[in-house]
């Protein structure tokens, strides 16, 4: 016996997954308006069923595989009698459903036929078959055959009339041409590959849940005669009509389904699965059994599509679908199956022996769990009326949304019938209860509108309680009375300077009491304040001053800011207060409809746009925030965020109008605003408003013992993970509000109080509209989006922004009249949101290209415009770069090399049977040759003698001195040699006290001058180093090298001596392969090391950005200052070194670092490295120390296993401003990456410098990547995905070409191993894939060894592309062969 057919196998698998579920019952309840004769019916059934191998099938199981048996006879028809019942037909229907709710076990009878007498003139027939032996075609054929036999029996015909084909033989013999199969395979491969991306699951009403269970609800929509006829007519119209009515109708229903899926998911790339009969031949058409197969149907929808234009595409797809749906070609799997099925049945159950029938398809209450929806379309009764069944899996949509789904479908169907040329996006599908829900959400007018401006509210507080402290900064305080007095005085000075109501006053000041007074004074003078960052580039300052048309520039204390903008008075705030003291201001305060502030946000056109906010909006927001957040309490608020950020408005004004206190935390003079740290250490506030990024940092800084009880989070997406963690930190004694609001809609306009119990989705909802705010969620055709479906948020509110200053067109575009016909404007936010429940909004991100970087709104267009303004940049695009997913910590037991202790979680560590690692083995084989690289003290003496000839400095050398044992010992030895030494130390801010004392004492004792260098950029360098290498040492080392070389050159010192141990030399400069076979002379190795050092200094990173690296632009510095590694010339054991140090100098082993290091930030690097890379960053260097006898294996293992104080690490990370959540992933991290096409030579540094002249630091892309071209999609848009992918993988945009030939293939293999990556192509460039100079040399060594050629190790630095390098190697191989041939005439020439 043969096995199951292709179609049967799919069903068998599905049933095995859900053994108890009746999901494959294909049951019908037929009612005939006559009394059929049971005896004849049973005989007719017997004739047909016994003649069908499919219906006699039973399926067993053996060893996990299905086994097939075909019984000699089929199950008989049962006969029962409902004739005496009052509602016989109704009872029959109910009985059918009940009977159908039980599965037909695979190894039992797979069919169930029951004839039910429903009275004298009515008969019911219940026919249920397991899908594994039937499909719709088969059911209809069975029905017809039984009818024919019954009719024959009635007429006295005794012979069977069945002309059925056998199932299994027919299914096995279905023909198709090889060429057709090849084309079909290609078609389905593309369709299935598409599914493996995101297109598999269409989120119905935003529900992404994958059903796991089979219970399903059937909702039925009967179209009725009129709408069915209209559909049929439409199916014959131009654009819809095709080869056959069935095909046209199928395409039409597909069009409707795609339209509906689009409208209820917001997706444009859509698809579903549909069955194909699979009966191409007359034989197959005459066989009972299952032939259908499911194939994928793909459709995409464009914003402008009408039903007709989409219909044309669906028809095209339907033609391809049918053409390629050859039997046996489907490859359904859970990974590629759509969650939506369209089942269009063209067949109808006709007359049964001349008797009409009423056919009811009985739903078993279950369906395949892969399918969230099966849309069944049929007219089984052949009445010309379509019946639509929506079989919804109950695990996906709640009942409410199931019903709404069917209603929305009906709305679209009616729109199609009404006007097929109507844009699909413009059909309003909302039903009545949705409209009611939206209306009640927007019923926010209960509280009174504001009557007083913020100035009046502040004055009221000041009169009420003049002595209460209003502002506090450190030790100094200002009372409400004093603030009022000084702001009145400054306002008088402004009036004196000619400031009129409606004018703008720019304020550039650090956060201070003066800045607050300046803002109040400006408002009091009825002018609008224009806040400007205190440290913006001059060009930006001038631009904002010019754009805003400011009349006066108020500058804060110690600010020497001035401007070239003509006719602009510059006034010091303090001087203004003094000048206006005692002067009376006649002018009353501002009216509610006057301008309060003008705030600039990033603009897409290349210049920032100024948002104009009136007093009404400001007061309305503050009133709401006061009611919602302050509730009559006197709270203390921190001022620690930028005054130019409208998030700050909340904390700035709330205390002034509610009688609270504003605690002021000024920004330091550096680039990084670290005031949050001061807020934490002062612990003086009850309320804080901040961004999620800030909040994450706040957590790291420590919330334990914090006074904060109310927290408003805004500016970017708040993850539930973060909110829950904060709530837990504070034992749930904290109110966390997630507040949403674009600057244009005044600070905050939608808010939600976080509920740890209820809020469990990934993001905390943004909640409900604030007072006097109404929202709409609209699609691109400005039609409302149903619940759960993403759309753009439109906001109307009292005091909505007046618009953009001087940008009428943009204002008209973003602020449009409401659809309700009132004059009220609503603001188009550009934000994607959806209703997650009838009463909760969720923020989903930006619709346009605008990004949020650390809470700042950033328009890539603005940065692009700046880049394009640079002389050599021809083309560019700025894209967000998302945080790389952190690597998981290595699992499993960790072994260590029995010799050196290298742990098995070190990448590419391989252990042999004896437990020795590959590095030890490899070193063992080259140890003798490596020894030749090391030299003697005489050699060192020679180096100094040589340099003495030309040395103009009073020092023989500079010693890089860390205070550790190695460099101390080396320093002593140099002094003993009689050399004049200049010691150089980097204070990275984390040097242990013990090490510091050693440095002072030892240099004092030796009489050596010591310079301790520092850089304000150190923390930025640590952050960068952590981002790039997941450690702190790389950044620190490069800083030392950069600063010391520059300094040595200044002092004309020709030699820098390092105290690198031999282990560190191997870790950072050498590899064991360099010594392979002793082929390379020490000079060759030195030349390679030098080349690597040049490259090292020219790789762009935070060091090259922050430090002066102009000296490294050419090669001279490398000739003028040479490096000498002391321990290359001197070998000393650990014990001897320590006893020397004890004997000769006042050196004490530092005890405050907990390990053999001088640096307190080391643990941070180790912690991050282990977390992100899965292993200890000291694993390799320590193994070298052991290998070279400078550390014992046990000592190394002890240090590698040291416990790390996580709270110290977290505190330190917060201190250096590195967001450890990068690892924990509770904040969406985005940085900016610019891709540009340039002509001629452009250095990244130069671009960065030029950009810094135009843009604030937050807008300068973290990554600048030069490309040859910007890749485009087929439709001519920038292929952002391709670029992002390249960026993510660190690859250039070149098309992939597989490596060809032995050299390229070998190289690709080696790169993959060395770089721990895969898919290396011929166009890839080594350094762009993350290669370092050391790995580059490693690759060169392996290449030379493999092909037995000699190439300079530095070849890769000049030829980093795989093809180039391979070509050079090939040339070398060829010339070597030619040389051999020339030297040996016996080699035959070709």
């Amino acid at each position: 016996m043969t096995g199951l057919t292709h179609s049967q196998t799919q069903i068998w698998i599905g049933q095995r997954l859900n053994p108890e579920s009746p999901l494959y019952n294909m049951a019908f309840g037929f009612v005939f308006p006559v009394g059929l004769r049971p005896d004849m019916f049973c005989e007719a059934w017997r004739r047909v069923a016994d003649g069908s191998d499919a219906l006699r099938t039973r399926i067993g199981e053996h060893g996990g595989n299905a086994t097939l048996q075909v019984a000699p006879t089929a199950r008989r028809t049962e006969v029962i009698d409902f004739g005496e019942r009052i509602d016989a037909v109704g009872d029959f229907r109910r009985w059918c459903r009940e009977r159908c709710a039980h599965p037909l076990p695979l190894d039992g009878e797979l069919i169930d036929s029951v004839l039910v007498r429903l009275g004298d003139d009515r008969t019911g027939w219940y026919l249920n078959q397991h899908h594994i032996v039937t499909d719709a075609w088969s059911t209809e054929l069975l029905y017809r055959q039984v009818g024919a036999e019954y009719e024959a029996l009635l007429e006295g015909d005794s012979g069977a009339r069945s002309v059925l084909s056998p199932y299994y033989a027919t299914a096995a013999a279905v023909p198709s041409r090889a060429a057709e199969r090849t084309a079909a395979l290609a078609h389905w491969r593309v369709r299935y590959a598409h599914r493996e991306g995101s297109a598999r699951v269409v989120p119905l009403y935003g529900r992404r849940a994958e059903p796991v269970d089979t219970p399903s609800t059937r909702l039925t929509l009967e179209l009725g005669a009129e709408r069915s006829r209209a559909l049929d007519r439409l199916a014959r119209q131009d654009g819809f009509v095709s080869l056959s009515d069935d095909l046209s109708r199928f395409a039409l229903f597909a069009t409707l389904l795609v339209s509906w899926l689009h409208r209820i998911s917001g997706r444009t790339d859509l698809g579903f699965d549909a069955p194909v009969a699979g009966r191409p031949t007359p034989e197959a058409k005459r066989a009972l059994g299952v032939f259908i197969e499911m194939f994928p149907f793909a459709a995409s929808i464009e914003p402008k599509d009408t039903f007709r234009t989409l219909g044309a595409r669906c028809l095209e797809e339907a033609l391809l679908f049918l053409r390629h749906a050859l039997p046996g070609m489907s490859a359904p799997s859970v990974a590629t199956a759509s969650n939506v099925v369209l089942n269009y049945f063209p067949a109808a159950f006709g007359m049964f022996a001349g008797v009409p029938v009423e056919a009811d398809w009985v739903h078993p209450g279950h369906g395949d769990s892969v399918h969230a929806l099966r849309l069944q379309v049929h007219d089984f009764s052949g009445s010309g009326r379509y019946v639509l069944h929506f079989d919804f899996n109950d695990g996906v949509l709640p009942t409410r949304l199931q019903h709404r789904g069917a209603e929305h479908f009906e709305k679209l169907l009616e729109a199609l019938l009404d006007d097929p040329d109507r844009p699909i996006a413009s059909v309003d599908v909302l039903v009545e209860d949705e409209r009611r829900a939206l209306a009640s959400l927007n019923a926010t007018a209960a509280s009174p509108l504001p009557e007083r401006s913020v100035v009046a509210m502040f004055q009221a507080q000041a009169h009420l309680d003049p002595d209460r402290v209003a502002l506090r900064q450190g030790d100094s305080e200002l009372s409400f009375g004093a603030v009022l007095e000084e702001s009145e005085a400054l306002a008088a000075s402004l009036e004196e300077r000619g400031v009129e109501p409606g004018d703008r006053v720019a304020i550039v000041s650090k956060r201070s009491a003066l800045a607050v007074i300046a803002i109040l004074a400006t408002l009091r003078a009825r002018a609008a304040y224009v806040p400007i960052e205190p440290f913006v580039p001059q060009a930006r300052l001038d631009q904002v001053l010019r754009d805003s048309g400011a009349h006066v520039l108020l500058v804060g204390e110690n600010s020497a800011r001035t401007t070239t903008v003509p006719e602009l008075a510059v006034l010091s705030i303090a001087a203004g207060i003094r000048a206006g003291a005692g002067a009376a201001l006649d002018r009353p305060g501002p009216e509610i409809d006057e301008l309060a502030y003008l705030m600039y946000t990033s603009g897409s056109t290349g210049r920032p746009k100024g948002v104009l906010i009136e007093h009404g909006g400001l007061a309305d927001y503050l009133n709401w925030a006061s009611r919602n957040y302050v509730r009559g309490d006197r709270l203390s608020f921190p001022l620690f965020t930028s005054l130019t950020f409208d998030l700050t408005v909340t904390s700035l004004f709330l205390p002034l109008i509610t009688g609270g206190t504003l605690e002021i935390y000024p920004e330091p003079d550096g680039a990084v605003d670290t005031a949050l740290r001061d807020v934490v250490s002062a612990n003086a506030v009850d309320f804080i408003k901040l961004t999620p990024s800030h909040l994450s940092l706040l957590r790291r800084l420590g919330l334990a013992g914090s006074r904060i009880r109310r927290m408003v989070v805004g500016g970017e997406n708040l993850t539930t993970h973060l909110a829950a963690a904060v709530s837990e930190d504070l034992d749930d004694r904290i109110e966390i509000y997630n507040e949403y609001g674009p600057t244009e809609a005044v600070v905050g306009c939608v808010a939600h109080r976080y509920d740890p119990e209820a809020d469990t989705d990934a993001s905390v909802p943004i909640g409900v509209p604030a007072d006097h705010v109404a929202i709409d969620i609209l699609n691109e055709a400005l039609t409302p989006a149903p619940e759960g479906v993403p759309g753009e948020l439109w906001i109307s509110r009292f005091g909505l922004a007046r618009g953009y200053h001087g940008l009428e067109e943009l204002t008209a575009e973003r602020f449009q009249p409401s659809s309700d016909g009132t004059a009220e404007l609503r603001y188009r936010t550009g934000d994607r949101v959806r209703m997650v429940s009838p009463t909760k909004l969720e923020y989903l991100g930006r619709l346009d290209r605008q990004l949020k970087v650390s809470g700042m709104r950033v328009e890539p267009g603005e940065i692009e415009a700046a880049l394009l303004s640079l002389p050599r940049v021809d083309q560019c695009i700025v894209l967000p770069r998302r945080r790389r997913a952190p690597a998981l910590e290595a699992r499993g037991e960790i072994r260590s090399c029995v010799r050196c202790g290298l742990p098995s979680n070190y990448p590419r560590a391989v252990f042999d049977q004896e437990g020795v690692c590959s590095v030890c083995r490899s070193y063992e084989s080259v140890e003798d040759h490596a020894q030749a690289y090391f030299k003697t003290m005489d050699d060192l003496r020679a180096v100094f003698d040589e340099s003495a000839h030309t040395n103009e400095s009073s020092y023989d050398c500079m010693m890089l001195y860390s205070g550790g044992k190695d460099s101390t010992y080396a320093l002593c030895q140099l002094v003993e040699m009689g050399l004049s030494v200049y010691a150089f130390t980097l204070d990275n801010g984390f040097i242990s006290d013990g090490a510091k004392q050693n440095i002072t004492k030892v240099t004092g004792e030796l009489g050596v001058p010591v310079e301790v260098a520092k850089t304000p950029a150190m923390n930025a360098i640590f952050r960068d180093s952590l981002m790039r290498f997941a450690n702190v040492c790389n950044g620190c080392f490069k800083t030392i090298y950069t600063l010391s070389m520059t300094r040595a050159r200044e002092l004309s010192i020709p030699i820098i001596v390092t105290g690198l141990s031999r282990g560190q030399m191997f870790e950072t400069r050498l590899t064991e392969e360099m010594f392979e076979g002793g082929r390379r002379s020490p000079e060759e190795i030195d030349s390679a090391v030098l080349a690597a050092r040049k490259l090292y200094h020219r790789v762009t990173d935070e060091v090259t950005r922050s430090l002066d690296v102009t000296a490294f632009e050419d090669d001279r510095i490398f000739a003028e200052v040479q490096f000498v590694d002391f321990y290359r010339y001197h070998d000393v054991g650990l014990d001897e070194m320590l006893s020397y140090l004890r004997r000769e100098v006042p050196w004490v082993r530092p005890e405050d670092t907990g390990r053999s290091t001088n640096c307190l930030i080391n643990d941070v690097g180790i912690y991050v490295h282990k977390k992100e890379r899965g292993y200890h960053n000291y694993a390799l260097p320590y193994s070298w120390d052991v290998r070279l006898g400078h550390k014992t294996r046990e000592g190394a293992l002890d240090e590698l296993n040291d416990a790390i104080d996580v709270s110290y690490v977290e505190k330190t990370l917060a201190e250096i401003g590195y967001d450890e959540q990068r690892v924990g992933a509770d904040v969406d991290q985005t940085s900016l990456e610019a891709f540009y096409v340039a002509s001629g030579d452009v250095a990244d540094e130069e671009l960065r410098r030029q950009l810094a002249e135009q843009l604030p630091p937050q807008l300068i892309p973290a990554h600048l990547q030069r490309v040859d071209t910007i890749p485009l999609t087929p439709s001519g848009k920038v292929d952002e995905k391709a670029l992002s992918r390249e960026a993510f993988a660190g690859r250039p945009e070149k098309p992939y070409r597989a490596p060809e030939g032995p050299v390229e293939e070998y190289l690709a293999l080696v790169w993959q191993e060395e770089l721990d990556t895969d898919g290396v192509g011929a166009h890839d460039s080594f350094f762009e894939l993350g290669g370092t100079s050391l790995t580059a040399m490693q690759v060169m060594l392996r290449l030379c060894q493999e092909f037995d050629i000699d190439l300079p190790l530095e070849t890769m630095f000049s030829h980093p592309k795989l093809t180039e390098l391979a070509r050079i190697a090939e040339d070398k191989i060829l010339t070597d062969v030619a040389d051999v041939r020339a030297a040996d005439p016996t080699t035959p020439a070709r």
């Binding site: 080869l243 191409p280 049918l322």
Partner: protein, 85 residues
Amino acid sequence: MTASDVERRILTFIRSELVSSDVSINPDDELLSGAILDSMGVVRLAAFVQEEYQFKMQPADFMIENFRSVAVLAHFVRKGTSTGQ
């Protein structure tokens, strides 16, 4: 290429690939309404003639009218190839 050549090739394809060889069809038989071919068969037939005679059918050519019978289809194919599509 004569009309009868084209008809013959189409008939051969239908007999060998779309219906069983024992079914008899004549050039003038109704293909679709006569239940000789289902929609899928017609689509495959359309693919076959395009491939065989190297021309491309436009979406609007997928009309029942062009596939009514083998004779009609052959006529359509000759027209399609002569316009140099």
